[in-house]
């Protein structure tokens, strides 16, 4: 038995006018929460579609739980939530869910039972109202998202793949999604999700992979990624006036490689070989009131910007994700 839920080796996928994924190798450990990070058009959706065997790679190999991804037995262990959501609008909720369950090999009474459980759990079925008997287009957007979520998890998949799961979620559903991801992990399931929201990724993921322009930029556990990619960052918080003087110091490229300015809070990446103490002295001398000056691990957000930069975003490729 392999220890990887997903094992992608040297996978390339080309379209007529561009390469969506180039020589990608990544491994998702079983039981982990894995973030696939990248700007729009980086190749996330293409990668996910190849994992799901919706499209086939031009070269390279993909194994899911040790089996080739085109093994029909695999599909029943996968749950998938696509980026843009929607369901058969004119169909009754319960029938949609039953259909999705049947596609995953869950049938009859078992499916009905699970649907009931989930509807109750996500408050779509209360003593007053059973939304399961309504048509999809009679539901609010939030409720439709819940239904889609049930459809993804109804067959209790071992590997759950969520494409941009947080986009378009209201705060309540967003929290419910986080809770569910944590719950899935506790139950030994593997969760992989793509996102460009680094905060969510940083809080939820055990491991991440950043891809840009179809290529892997880096991967590893969140801890190791942070360790490898700079302990040289400094968190700086200021009080009162004197910010303008600091701004000039931060533009000194002999000291500072780049600074992320959030008005009163700065995340600063030191220039190679520069001394943080020298920076602190200059700031104090400028007369600014320092509230916080701390050597920190960079946030995923910083690492992402540093590694991918603005050039990582290619226009007009959202169709191929």
């Amino acid at each position: 038995m392999t220890e990887y839920a997903i094992d992608i080796v040297n996978v390339t996928k080309r379209y007529a006018d561009h390469t969506a994924v180039r020589d990608l190798t990544l491994r998702v450990p079983k039981g982990s929460v894995y973030g696939l990070l990248g700007p729009n058009g980086a190749g996330k959706t293409t990668t996910i579609r190849m994992i799901l065997n919706i499209i086939a790679p031009d070269s390279g190999k993909i194994h899911i739980f040790g089996r080739p991804s085109n093994d029909p037995r695999i599909t029943e262990r996968l749950g998938y939530l696509p980026e843009e959501r929607g369901l058969y609008r004119k169909m009754q909720v319960r029938r949609v869910l039953k259909f999705l369950a049947e596609l995953k090999g869950v049938r009859g009474k078992d499916a009905d039972h699970r649907i009931d459980e989930w509807l109750v759990r996500l408050s779509l079925k209360t003593p007053e109202k059973d939304w399961g008997l309504s048509k999809i287009d009679e539901l609010s957007r939030g409720m439709q998202q819940k239904v889609q979520f049930i459809g993804t998890l109804l067959h209790d998949p071992d590997l759950v793949i969520l494409d941009e799961p947080f986009s378009g979620l209201d705060p309540i559903n967003s929290q419910a999604l986080k809770d569910t991801v944590v719950d899935l992990k506790h139950r030994g399931k593997t969760v992989i999700f793509s996102t460009h929201l680094m905060d969510n990724a940083e809080r939820l993921c055990d491991s991440v992979c950043i891809i840009a322009r179809g290529e892997k930029v880096l991967d590893g556990t969140v801890t190791s990624v942070k360790e490898e990619h700079g302990q040289r960052n400094i968190a700086l918080a200021l009080e009162g006036d004197g910010i303008s003087g600091v701004a000039a110091i931060l533009r000194d490229h002999s000291l500072v490689k780049r600074a992320d300015d959030s008005n009163r809070f700065f995340e600063i990446e030191m220039a190679p070989g520069a001394d943080p103490q020298a920076l602190l002295r200059r700031i104090v001398e400028s007369g600014a009131a320092v509230q916080r000056f701390e050597m920190i691990q960079p946030s995923l957000h910083q690492i992402f910007l540093q590694k991918v930069g603005a050039t990582g975003v290619e226009e007009g490729m959202t169709g191929h994700g």
């Binding site: 007529a16 579609r49 799901l52 065997n53 919706i54 499209i55 086939a56 599909t75 029943e76 996968l78 998938y80 696509p82 980026e83 843009e84 959501r85 929607g86 369901l87 058969y88 609008r89 004119k90 169909m91 029938r95 259909f99 999705l100 049947e102 596609l103 995953k104 090999g105 049938r107 459809g151 993804t152 959202t318 169709g319």
Partner: protein, 428 residues
């Protein structure tokens, strides 16, 4: 297989449950019966109506002529017991009897009254007055009955016995008519032409309706992104097959219901026609053997597969209903240009046009069943037609499944023909 079944089941049940299906299934037979009954009913107005029985016969001959005439007027009827009421009157009381009969007609108790007297027996005159006096058919019927009765009376007077008389005057002439146009005989009989037309129209309608149903269904799955979820669970070929078979089964269900109810309605047409006041028209339903029936359904199914798979491909390659309508226009042209040939083929079902069109998969699903309805088709032609159609279906499915699996994942602008050609070349 279980997954294919799940898809077929969804496609089938969701459509059969819809109001649209119920409405179409209910009104279809009424519509098709109307197509057949209305012309027959119109034709029937050239025959005498039941009005001729609902008359009073004022007999002033005092020879019993009226009774014999009544029998002759009624002799054609299939509704027993209905014949004119005979009133024997003295010539002096005739005026009074006529005004009585006029009032009966005015009160709509009778259609009219007929006066026969010595001059009638002499072959000189008879009078009729009634609400249906302008009906040529009714008047012709009464007139010929009078002639026949006069003739019979004269023969009797020269000493012919009853048996001989019956033998001579009994002429059950069944006069069938056929129109000749500048193109020759107008088909091989009204019933089979109507039947052929109904079949052609039914196939044409079903292919268009269900083809577009499939197209919208595919488009819905694409725009709502359900397609991606389904494709992550089943191969696209299975999805396409499930769709075509599921919707095809809906179409087949509807056809069978339509054919069955239309058949029953036409079987019951005698009472319906009688209610309309027309005697039964003498045409029998074309004899459809079980084999021919199976062939009809086979042509429907293959034609449906041919067109619906192409419609599915179109649905998968576009992003909105309006784009879909545009992109489907080549298919529409193929179907409509076939429909244009329905009439010429009906008129000349064994001509070169008909034979060629029944070999091309684009037109054969509609043209061949029409030919089968109106004429005999040689086995070899039938086999060739089916063979080409099966090959056509395989090609359409192959092409469609390739466009389908790429198109489903392409959003944004509508692809050009060149791009679609390239999709076909993608391995997957």
């Amino acid at each position: 297989m279980a997954k294919l079944w799940a898809i077929i089941k969804r496609e089938y049940l969701e459509r059969v449950r819809s109001k649209w299906f119920l409405i179409a299934t209910f009104f279809g037979p009424i519509f098709f019966s109307a197509i057949i009954i209305v012309p027959a009913w119109l034709a029937s107005t050239s025959k005498a109506t039941t009005d001729v029985y609902n008359t009073t016969l004022l007999d002033a001959t005092s020879t019993g002529f009226g009774h014999r005439l009544a029998v002759n007027i009624a002799v054609d009827t299939t509704i027993p017991g209905r014949m004119p009421v005979v009133k024997v009157v003295a010539p002096s009381e005739l005026t009074q009897a006529e005004s009585l009969a006029t009032r009966e007609v005015m009160r709509k108790e009778k259609s009219g009254y007929l006066v026969v007297d010595q001059q009638t027996i002499a072959g000189e005159s008879a009078r009729y007055a009634g609400a249906n006096a302008t009906s040529i058919a009714d008047m012709t019927q009464i007139k010929s009955a009078i002639r026949q009765t006069i003739l019979a009376t004269r023969l009797q007077n020269v000493g012919l016995d009853d048996a001989k008389l019956k033998q001579i005057t009994f002429i059950p002439l069944d006069f069938s008519t056929e129109r000749i146009t500048e193109r020759g005989r107008a088909g091989s009989g009204m019933a089979s032409v109507l039947f052929g037309f109904a079949i052609g129209f039914l196939l044409y309608l079903s292919i268009v309706i269900y083809g577009q149903t499939i197209m919208s269904g595919v488009l819905e799955e694409k725009t709502t992104r359900v397609a991606e979820v389904v494709m992550s669970s089943v191969p696209t070929d299975t999805l396409l097959a499930g769709k075509v078979l599921g919707v095809g089964a809906v179409g087949l269900t509807q056809q069978i219901l339509w054919i069955a109810t239309t058949y029953v309605l036409l079987k019951l047409r005698a009472p319906i026609m009688a209610k309309l006041g027309a005697p039964t028209v003498n045409f029998s339903l074309p004899d459809i053997t079980l084999g021919a029936g199976v062939l009809f359904l086979l042509f429907f199914l293959l034609g449906f597969i041919f067109y619906s798979s192409l419609y599915a491909a179109v649905g998968s390659s576009v992003n909105s209903e309006s784009e879909a309508r545009q992109a489907a226009s080549p298919l529409m042209i193929m179907i409509v240009s076939t429909a244009v040939f329905i009439q010429p083929v009906l008129l000349n079902p064994t001509g070169t046009t008909a034979r060629v069109l029944s070999l091309i998969p684009i037109s054969s699903p509609i043209i061949m069943p029409i030919r089968m309805a109106v004429t005999g088709v040689p086995t070899l032609e039938m086999a060739a037609s089916l063979g080409f159609l099966v090959i056509g279906c395989a090609a359409a499915l192959w092409l469609a499944s390739r466009i389908y699996r790429v198109g489903f994942l392409m959003y944004g602008k509508r692809p050009t023909m060149k791009e679609m050609a390239r999709w076909v070349s993608y391995a997957r």
